[in-house]
């Protein structure tokens, strides 16, 4: 395998099992950077529709049309971020650029008065997000011994998701206090963005013991396209095509009259809470039983959420269960994918490897949303879920077989 012992800076080689191992301080710091940055972005995202329609007097229909475009741009930028991080050998400063760009975007948001300028600012924010994700995950990977990667990503994603859950609550609390306080929310959001950038810039070391790469050598796709990673990309991409966004699951639950419409904004908060409480335990589980296996089995939780949403059952119970299952799905897939991808390529192209896996998953899920949308209207919510669920049921054992070797390789590397 490609991972060498020099890769394990924090824990001595013979760390005894059983004793609870701490994650590297840099992982926690990066987690807090993500936490404050997510408070920043999610607080604004939560009030933006109200602000556009209520204060600027705009209708937002056209906003949705361009949204898909931004997502595509964000996916491409992500590859670029990974590539730049590997090529320059300074993932921290690529990530810093990404966080910085988002902070600058927040500043300009204070002065945007129209849909066009707001859209431009939001897309700059998305570009920043795309840019920083892979270098940051590569830094987490570099700072953590392979046997604890799942736990380390679990810690990071937990902190990250706490920010995502706190942001909207903070924003609406401000509006509750100051009913026309949209600008106050934006000022607070800018403040948190600045804190994130400052924390990253000042207190995160540039290269936490990454292997030095010969200066400014170009990153070649050949280096990234290791057989293991390609296998992961194929499996993750195929499962991504069968992944129905949780928005559709919520709509299916709403369609069945499972809960009153006014709980709608709370559903994704519920999913986030499930996600953040499960990210660390599932990350540890992935370290023990194999990351690829957990990644694939996470899709079984998604499949179970389809079943819960499709069958008639007690409304409240099925809603809560569906949120729990969706949280499990995210906990078993998001950080675990990055943890796994970072290990299947040489350390010198780690950010590119992580970026490739994340991009493949993002693009596959975008495609699947489009396809599922068609099924939704042609077949109706329940039948559409049954169709995609059947596909997932067939794909799961195949995927499990396909990734067996990945976990064996992982075991050999340990």
């Amino acid at each position: 395998m490609y991972i060498t012992l020099s890769d394990r800076p924090q824990a001595p080689v013979g760390t005894p099992r059983g004793r609870r191992r701490r994650v590297a301080p840099v992982v926690v710091t990066l987690g807090i950077v993500s936490l404050v940055t997510d408070i920043s972005s999610e607080s604004v995202a939560a009030i933006l529709p109200l602000y556009l329609t209520g204060v600027l007097g705009l209708s937002t229909i056209s906003y949705g049309f361009v949204d898909a475009l931004y997502q595509g741009v964000s996916a491409l930028v992500r590859i670029g971020g990974g590539w730049a991080a590997d090529r320059g050998g300074h993932p921290k400063w690529v990530a810093f650029l990404g966080y910085g760009l988002s902070a600058v975007a927040r500043f300009f948001l204070l002065f945007s008065a129209g849909l066009a300028t707001v859209s431009a600012v939001i897309s700059a924010d998305r570009v920043g997000k795309g840019l920083r994700t892979a270098p940051r995950d590569a830094m987490i990977s570099a700072a953590t011994p392979p046997s604890q990667l799942g736990a380390a990503f679990g810690v990071h994603r937990t902190l990250d998701t706490i920010g995502a859950a706190v942001g909207p609550l903070l924003a609406f609390a401000i509006l509750w206090w100051i009913p026309d306080g949209y600008v106050t929310v934006m000022v607070v959001s800018l403040g948190f963005a600045v804190l994130g950038v400052a924390l990253l810039g000042l207190l995160v070391p540039d290269r936490p013991a990454a292997q030095p790469r010969p200066a400014r050598t170009p990153v070649r796709w050949r280096e990234v396209a290791q057989p293991g990673l390609v296998r992961l990309l194929v499996v993750a991409g195929a499962l991504g095509l069968l992944t129905v966004g949780d928005g559709f699951i919520y709509l299916a639950l709403l369609d069945r009259g499972g809960f009153a419409a006014h709980w709608f904004p709370l559903l994704y908060v519920g999913t986030n809470i499930a996600y953040l409480s499960l990210a660390i335990p599932i990350g540890r589980l992935a370290d023990r039983v194999g990351k690829a296996r957990v990644l694939v089995c996470g899709h079984a939780a998604l499949l179970a959420s389809f079943v819960v949403a499709a069958v008639s059952w007690d409304a409240t119970a099925s809603t809560l269960l569906a949120l729990l299952l969706l949280g499990t799905f995210y906990a078993a897939t998001d950080g675990v994918t990055a943890a796994l991808a970072g290990r299947l390529v040489p350390t010198t192209v780690r950010a590119s490897g992580i970026a490739s896996a994340q991009t493949v998953v993002a693009v596959a899920r975008m495609a699947s949303s489009a396809i599922f949308g068609v099924l939704w209207f042609v077949l109706g919510p329940q039948l559409a879920l049954v169709v995609v669920g059947t596909g997932l049921l067939v794909a799961l054992p195949l995927a499990l077989g396909a990734v067996r070797r990945l976990d064996l390789e992982a075991g050999a590397a340990r």
């Binding site: 937002t60 229909i61 009913p179 949308g373």
Partner: protein, 341 residues
């Protein structure tokens, strides 16, 4: 920089950022209290005169002066729109009224912000309140007040995804809903279609079975005639948004979309249903994003936000002859509806 210096710098930044955020928020809160404690600057009717005002022809609207009555439903006499206004006891984001019913879309603020539709009877008593799925956009009552439609923006459905769609519903006043209009059978240019990206918005009622609305799909917009009993939407024209049926039922006022500076720009227009002739009222050069209301057979009403005062809007009147300039009709007002007892 040493680690110690870095930590000191970070603590200093935290201190400055938190101080600035707090100071700004406290300042914004006190300025909000100040501006929303003062009485309206426009003339208001005393309580005693209000009782008689409610039985006369009038225009009901949302008051948008930054004062103690912000967002409160008000009315002025039809023959004196610039005169003193009478305040009702309810606050709404969007309001429509007939002689018997008032429909009120509202944002219920809280740590979890929710949205509701409340129906009131002629005496201002609540008939029923129901939740709506998104941010209030349009509401219209049928002429006899037995049906109510709502259009709301639904946003933030999904984790890691921002996007908007509209949810438009028709309900029996005091009764049940007829479901989201997106589920009605859609017939475009004579063909039954089932596109996935369809949005319906801006209902206007002809009677208690027939209505008009906009359907957006594949980047195009259509004027559809809806049949509530048959649950169908049938296209009769394209490029029409937020229709509003004239009092005599012969014409549709709407906003026509064009491109200007890379963004959508809406201009008021009128479509003759019998001849298909459309008149774009370019005398109005500002961007109109409202569902138009007919004042009478020749005059349209719509709201425009003020450029220099966030949250303040005015209602403007525009003759449909195509040559008259728009005129300020009611200041500090939004969501007008004409009530003729």
């Amino acid at each position: 920089m040493s680690q110690r210096a870095r930590i000191t710098a970070f603590v200093a930044i935290v201190f400055v950022v938190v101080s600035v955020m707090t100071a700004y928020a406290v300042g914004a809160a006190s300025s909000y209290r100040r501006s929303h404690d003062r009485p309206p600057t426009v003339a208001i009717v005393s309580d005693a005169a209000a009782v008689t005002a409610a039985s006369r022809p009038r225009i009901v609207f949302r008051h948008t002066g930054i004062d103690s009555q912000y967002g409160v439903v008000a009315s002025v006499p039809l023959d004196d729109p610039g005169g003193a206004r009478t305040f009702a006891d309810i606050a709404c984001d969007r309001v429509d009224a007939t002689t018997d019913v008032t429909s009120c879309l509202r944002t219920e603020r809280g740590v979890v912000t929710r949205y509701s539709l409340t129906e009131y009877d002629a005496d201002g008593r609540e008939i029923q309140q129901v939740s709506v799925p998104g941010i209030p956009s349009r509401t219209r009552l049928s002429p006899d007040g037995s049906l109510v439609s709502t259009t709301t923006f639904v946003s933030g459905h999904s984790y890691m995804q921002v996007g908007f769609s509209t949810a438009t519903e028709i309900r029996d006043v005091g009764g049940e809903g007829h479901g989201n209009l997106e589920r009605f059978t859609l017939i475009l240019n004579g063909e039954r279609v089932a596109p996935r990206d369809r949005n319906v918005w801006g209902v206007t009622f002809a009677d208690d079975d027939t209505f008009y609305a906009t359907v957006g799909t594949g980047g195009a917009t259509y004027l559809v005639r809806g049949d509530l009993g048959a649950r169908t939407l049938t296209s009769i024209a394209d490029h029409v948004e937020c229709p509003s049926l004239s009092p005599d039922g012969t014409r549709i006022a709407f906003k026509q979309a064009t491109e200007r500076d890379g963004t959508t720009w809406w201009t008021p227009a009128v479509l003759d249903l019998a001849t298909g002739k459309r008149t774009v009222l370019t005398a109005e050069q500002r961007n109109i994003d409202d569902q138009i209301e007919w004042l009478d057979r020749r005059t349209l009403l719509y709201g425009i936000p003020r450029d220099d005062e966030a949250g303040v809007t005015d209602v403007w009147a525009l003759r449909t002859d195509g040559t008259s300039r728009p005129e300020l009709f009611i200041q500090q007002a939004w969501s007008p509806s004409v009530v003729r007892p």
